[in-house]
Subunit: 157 residues, 2 copies
DNA sequence: TATTGTTATACTCTATAACTATA
DNA sequence: TATAGTTATAGAGTATAACAATA
């Protein structure tokens, strides 16, 4: 197997894992009366420091206007609310409501429990984590990667 | 770091890698005048043995009617065509046109070249592949996984 | 001037339900 | 009866362009 083929195989694996995770997420979303995308957004909303509409759009790689309508729908369902930023009056902080938090917790727990990774032993998972981090950090600047992945210990969950 | 946290970290990595791949795919899709979803479908259309509308829907985890409209749009752009199945007259085989093939090749090449995985050395990629396969095979039946991932040597590309 | 967020608009994406044709 | 595919419909997701408010 040459390098090109190996890369393709890795992408096929990525696709397969994403498909498995997505299937679980979809099932949960259905129970909760949400769409896949909304469930995904809920998950992403809870990671990292302070969430704004702009930051959510960056994270979901969509236009700002798309984030606006996404937040509209989540707000209508009572899962998030828009709070004015204390110092910058242009910015709206997107906060999870208690119901939003509860659902977010269910999403994370449900997904990580049934994750394909859960079948690996602890050692394998550590090795996998190291390899993935290496791949991620190699292609993006540390800042960009940090925004998506790293969560300060105190702010986790 | 306990197991729950490690699992969450792994999912964050998965998200980050998917985001990087998606960003590359999006750029290419834009150039080609396609949407992300169409580009993804094009990629998936080319993997595995014989593609039918039903199989595409399974693979993209969407409803059959969604696959129908997706194929409609790809057909309108001249990237695929519907061919009657030789023995089962209910089935339509979805074939890539020459233009579809060319674009599909560009998508795969572009993405695998700029993939986060490309930065890992050969040894690391082999280890990563092994770990991912292990995670995939552990949670799904061999048959299901085979449909998504394994491609017989003769039919690849 | 640049940035944050919104609105209006026009697509694409998506599932549900009802249908036809074939197995 | 079951399966492959389509159509009609309605709502969610999406980007573009134009805009207001604020930095």
């Amino acid at each position: 197997m040459d390098d090109q083929q190996l890369n393709e195989q890795l992408h096929d694996c990525l696709f397969a894992i994403r498909a498995q995770v997505h299937a679980e997420l979809k099932e949960l979303a259905r129970e909760a009366g949400l769409t896949d995308t909304q469930t995904d957004a809920l998950w992403r909303l809870s990671r990292g420091p302070e969430m704004t509409a702009r930051r959510l759009a960056d994270r979901l790689q969509c236009d700002a206007s798309t984030a606006t309508s996404m937040i509209d729908r989540l707000e209508r369902r009572g899962l998030v609310r828009r709070v004015p930023h204390p110092t910058d009056r242009r910015v709206k902080v997107i906060q999870l409501t208690p119901e939003g938090c509860a659902l977010r917790d269910r999403v994370i727990q449900h997904t990580t429990e049934r994750s394909p990774f859960a079948r690996l032993d602890h050692e394998s998972r550590l090795r996998l984590h190291e390899l993935l981090r290496q791949a991620i950090d190699g292609t993006h600047s540390a800042d960009e990667a940090a925004d998506v992945v790293a969560i300060p210990e105190g702010e986790r969950r």
